[in-house]
Symmetry: C2
Subunit: 161 residues, 2 copies
Amino acid sequence: MSDPADPRNPSLPILDEDPRGRAARVGVAMLRFQNRLERRAAESLAAHGLTLAQFDVLANLAHGEGITQQELAARLLVTKGNVVGIIDRAEAAGWVERRPDPEDRRANRLYLTDAGRQLLARAFPGHSAMMQRVFGTLTAGELALMGEWLARLDRATAEGR
Amino acid sequence: MSDPADPRNPSLPILDEDPRGRAARVGVAMLRFQNRLERRAAESLAAHGLTLAQFDVLANLAHGEGITQQELAARLLVTKGNVVGIIDRAEAAGWVERRPDPEDRRANRLYLTDAGRQLLARAFPGHSAMMQRVFGTLTAGELALMGEWLARLDRATAEGR
DNA sequence: TATTGTTATACTCTATAACTATA
DNA sequence: TATAGTTATAGAGTATAACAATA
């Protein structure tokens, strides 16, 4: 498929086996896997009318109800402007509630509704089962190491911003 | 932040420490990291006017010029309908060319233009450097293992479709 | 009949920047 | 002055389904 003798396919060595590019190549594999994993997750959540972003909102609120929109923005890695739309949709669906902060009248505090909590409880098992099917292909020891490395990689992406 | 005694935060044990949920928890960490990585990659590519999807098109064509839109759809994991829009934009930008397949007049064969090849060559180093900053936090041995595991995980997401 | 690509439609998410009301 | 949230705008990507041309 990528015949180096093919004149239509001039050498792009940067994309091929570069001894210094080990790290980059694992990165490419990571992005490819992400694509698949994300689609699998989206599929499992769509059965409950949830997008991955909306699921993230519910999961974040389940762990820390009463956060502000800015705090949520920081967790979701999006701008405060984007959070308005995301919460607008979640609120319209009846999963989330904005409550004015009595101590700071600029701020909203975000809470799950009962419906939101119930939806999360319904959607989570399928999501978790899919994750277990995929990550269950790693042994317990491998999972432990993977967890450590992900924490390290996560720090590396957060740094130097 | 998530005080179990807080009545606003009724127990959602499915989201907490579940001894059987190791795999799922690593999966969640994976999605979080991938989210960050994707944003980092998008940032580095945006400096060249590229989205991650467009970069993916260029990289895929660099490895296999002359593929059809359906073949590209399969690689990008999107529908053929989506590929039309993606290639429309890439073609409008002058990076990619549709050439009718002389042997099957239904099909288009996709090729990089010189501009597309040059853009890829300009954008790749920054992308690769970012990847190396992030994945360089893993040792050579860890990278090798990570590569193996990602291949295994990738297969697990592709299976059972 | 099946396949390749296109069109049409609608929705979610994202980025940017100006705006308001409070602090 | 700075901060929390909103609004406005624009664009990319995605999903779905019906359609034309060709095989």
